[in-house]
Point group: C4
Chain length 386, copies 4
């Protein structure tokens, strides 16, 4: 078959995590000997897991709980907590809003301006209760907030937009990452990005970490609304290759963090095997007991005043943060004991640390439901007496 | 694996829009700086969006509403409005007909002859209320109607059949597009077509636009009934390549319009990125408040007296034409604020105009539901405690 | 990616009809000028459609009805009609048997021996009411029945087994097709087969037609039970290539008939475009008013005493044989007006006869549900406000 | 399309059994002449079917029933039967436990230590009632149990872990397979494994059989929890190639047993055609009348105290062990008469023994539901009047 014009126009076939599977080799390791530590900037974090800067996931209170489990929680400085003194009320209002109304309600609630004193207050609350404090801002507001962020003793500053470019055409001069990094001693983690060339450029700006992931999140509808999105397997591989090539040229190793579409422990293992150094989780933590979303999960693009690009998902509770991160598990679907599963997977794959996990064999495989799961599928579909 | 006889017999693997995704690059643009204008013939249209010549989509009244939003609505001159003086009655009858009976009812209603005086009247109504008037006819009737069309001051004449060929074998001499184009000063837009060679021939006939799309429409069952249909990604790429090669040879740039299977703003972005200059939408506009289909959508092949090749779809209201075209959106699925989404997508992809959008990176990707949406899929399938 | 051992072990990727789509070219033809006649042996049949030798599809009565529509109906000489004088009673018993019991009931009913006098009677009944008489026998019984078949004036003799080989290892000497063909002047149609080399051998035996299709039937579960089955697109292409190569070598053109998995008019068009000369339909005709299955459809492997390899499907009535074969259609899904759809498809594809249809462009495409049908899929899956 | 970094990182596309289909050739064989015997160690087993060492599948009682059908049942020495004198009580408790509680209950029940006297007792029970006795142990406990196993006259010793490696890093020295094989005269069957290189190494250790299969089981959730799993088609082909290359080098032919994800007779045929010498079945036998699971099926990883990686499936009864293994079948879905189906498949494919079956043609095909089953799918999805 000839592929002609299509093959010219389509750059490549991209793969989602769902299409990948990890393959054991000749060596196994006792899981207890597997190290899952993660270096971000000059800090050594106990786990490679971060919690997303989403209002349904990270509040000052949940950040403290996550910190106790070794998870670095990132507070969104453009979320409800910096707009309202008692954001619990707004979160409760969202949780009790019917499916037909929540978008308008969110649009209204997020129209309230961010207040400098609340930014200061939230950072102070986290400083008092978390071993490390991480906050996130959109690029256009980060310079204005920087004095408060620095004064508050923040450990990591995330600068996030849907898509971070290296050239921006607009009436306002965009944030220059290199200038920000030069201006502050706080390690800057920037993104999101999904492309080798762009990643190469961003890695030169002095950042401590690069966020990979465009459109894959559970609550994200970018691919439907904008036609934009990069399947995570391919996105991580391209980003990790940029990191490796940057390291080969400069000797500087910058963390690559996979952000979006990582739904359970199997996805964590696959994202790291594709080359990520860390993973950022949203939906799983929105389902912890005590999560700020009160049984719901949504993205930060959902309350957009003119073009919502996220949805609100109803989520069931999975139990405590401890159960989710360190187990013991009482669920068999990869939502409990994320770290135990990661260590077991690493041991099975013979990887003693995340660097070794990044080199294990990966196969492209039929969707996770296809292989050996025909039985369950058949039952689901009500086929005959199967 | 050898592909032997299959690989000889199958011309290529063709791709649907659902299998494609757009990939940001190094540059972003402020969406306010992105231009979405579209040149058709010698007119500059404010948006690249057209409304399909289907009775559930365009009436003289809805054409006016769409025109106010910058959408070029095309009235079907072989639809109910030129067969009945008070077509509202027939539309209401279709809307109240049960699922088991609507095809016979439509067959009966569309058996009524088209009346010249109603053609004249409908054109006059549109002339009075639309900034630009566009009408559509089947090839066999267009010469007969041409005097009325010209007299009425129509701005664009669409000549549409399921498949437009360059050679027709039949007892009646088929319409010669080149002769029609030579005979009238109204810009002619013709189709549909899905093939590079045919497109190359049609582009030589003097037309102002070429409609691409065979079988993909939401209400179309051609692939099931006839085995015929071309996935839209590939169809648009082939048509756009024909346009570009025609331009390279002649210096004449003719618009390519993707018609069918474009369901929301993400699809619009992908169709344009594949190379279309404009897009023709049916189902979305059939769901506007005040749409003539009164909560239903159907194709013009549905009432075929001997071989219906379309179905009637029940559609829910999405709100006003303004909300659909220009927002603000209160839905997160790409059905509100089509132009806002297009500009946001263009900005994210660094495309300042549609010509630049036609050059952005495209990946082949798993179906839109697969990537990162396993969460939703799993919920949908009732899997375990996910 | 390396394919190593898999690529050695797997002979090729095979394609189903569902993965194929037909692509119009530069020429169209008035459907009224398209000829659908089909030469089998030395007879010219009015349509390329045959009705399968299954008890739910062909009885002496339904054969007459089908004959009036130009369909060649094949009576199974090992079915109920040659085992029971009043087979209507057994058919009614099957139709009223619950899902849990029908297999045992069928096993019991089909244990009754075939009676020579009933074979004679059924042939006589068909001779009296059909323009052409076709019967089918399993290979092991055909020589025994041949005198009755010849005496009855049968026009076509089908010799069918699940898989016809050219070499058989067994205690009993298998039927030698070449000997049978030499022994009788009745044109023999044999099968089934799905493989180029085997087809080449079978074509040398003097047969008038070759049946292609292993495992694809709607009521067939061979692929599940035996792991055996060949996707029909590839099976037909391989068989048609064998026919063409046989013709090139010998000048003898033998009909290739696609048998199984052809569900509606779109599938008929695609099967012929892949190279079949005729198509054999089961499930569609089991749904005609007056079909012998009385609302059910099953395969001849279902009543196997030790290993049923077929299932019983409940089917809804589609209306008269005339509506199904010649329309006019009041359904839009390719189950009404099969011949009208075939001629329209041929006209659209520019094929004036089935020989030309065998040469039209075919694309491999996403499954019929994927392209442009995301709208319907999304509705079906209850996604958001789509 | 370029595949660049992905194609470097992904080792290959792996195939599941569901994606494969077997293709008849020029020869058929009378099924009665097809031999299905299977050589394991120096014993000739009447069938190539084994029953998995799972508590829902094999008890001392069910082992006897399976033995009478020619199936080698493997008792898990770390299951309930060696922890409890009256394990029937614990099995009943699991069967009556609700979906929300069974994992905690299993975790509690499997925390009870294994007792040497019960190991001895169970082996004695099987010795008294089975023609051949097979038991399974995890590697870390096998040396401790070996005296009892040898004393009990066990015929086959299975040493199973999720993934068997050739190098293990850990505080405790892992079991050395070669030492075990040297130390005992009982034939050792070890696994599981899914990789050519590892298989090559394991085959040198003196084992009599190698178990292939990681993650595909019906009750296994390894791919979801750990991201690990190898589609069975590819896993078997790689293992079989290792066996063949080992044989070519050493003249020693060691059995390869496919373990996991083999759901019915079609899968058995495909697993053997991919190169397996035997197949190990779990879910099918958990559904026999008298199966120890009492209507449920679960994996041995389900009761893991910290990381359950299996699920409990509710299963419907299929009837007696005889009906399942030797028929006659009264189901048409490949769950009755496994051996009859295997012989029929072999006869159809022209394979007189399993060695010949390992050489038949295999195609990669659309999922078993796609080909020719659109009819059933369409009904399932409630599409139109199909």
């Amino acid at each position: 078959m000839s592929e002609d014009f299509d093959s010219i126009r389509f750059k490549k076939r991209a793969y989602s995590l769902d299409e990948l599977t990890l393959v054991p080799g000749a060596r196994t390791v006792d899981p207890d000997l597997c190290s899952v530590t993660f270096t971000l900037g000059e800090k050594l974090l106990p786990t490679p897991i971060l919690a997303s800067a989403m209002d349904s996931v990270v509040s000052p209170q949940s950040a403290a709980s996550l910190s106790r489990q070794g998870v670095l929680a990132v507070l969104n400085l453009q979320g409800l907590w910096t707009r309202y003194l008692r954001a619990e009320d707004q979160l409760a209002a969202i949780a009790s809003s019917p499916d037909t109304d929540y978008i308008s309600l969110m649009q209204r609630l997020y129209a309230e301006p961010v207040k400098a004193e609340l930014v200061e207050k939230r950072i102070a609350e986290m400083k008092a209760s978390c071993s490390l404090v991480a906050v996130s801002s959109v690029p256009q507001d980060v310079l204005g907030l920087l004095p408060i962020i620095e004064k508050g003793g923040v450990d990591f500053l995330f600068v996030q937009s849907t898509v971070t470019s290296t050239v921006h055409v607009g009436v306002h001069k965009p944030l220059q990452l290199a200038e920000l990094c030069a201006q502050t001693s706080i390690p800057v983690i920037a993104g999101n990005c999904s492309n080798y060339q762009v990643a190469r450029e961003l890695l030169k700006s002095g950042i401590a970490g690069l966020l990979i992931g465009i459109g894959p999140g559970a609550a994200c509808t970018s691919r439907g609304v904008l036609g934009i999105g990069v399947p995570m397997g391919t996105a991580i591989i391209d980003g990790a290759r940029a990191r490796d090539d940057h390291f080969a040229e400069t000797g500087e190793r910058i963390a690559v963090i996979a952000d979006g579409g990582i739904l359970n422990s199997g996805d964590i293992c696959k994202a790291l095997a594709c080359g990520a150094d860390g993973v950022m989780l949203g939906s799983v933590f929105s389902r912890a007991e005590g999560a700020p979303g009160l049984g719901f999960h949504w993205g930060m693009a959902t309350p957009s005043p003119v073009l919502p690009r996220g949805t609100r998902i109803k989520v069931r509770s999975l139990g405590s943060y401890e159960k989710i991160v360190h187990g013991p598990a009482s669920l068999d679907n990869g939502l409990h004991n994320l770290i135990g599963a990661l260590k077991t997977s690493m041991g099975t794959l013979g990887a003693q640390n995340i660097g070794e996990l990044q080199g294990v064999d990966i196969y492209v495989a039929p969707s996770i439901l296809a292989e050996g799961k025909a039985y369950q599928s058949a039952q689901r579909l009500g086929m005959g007496s199967l």
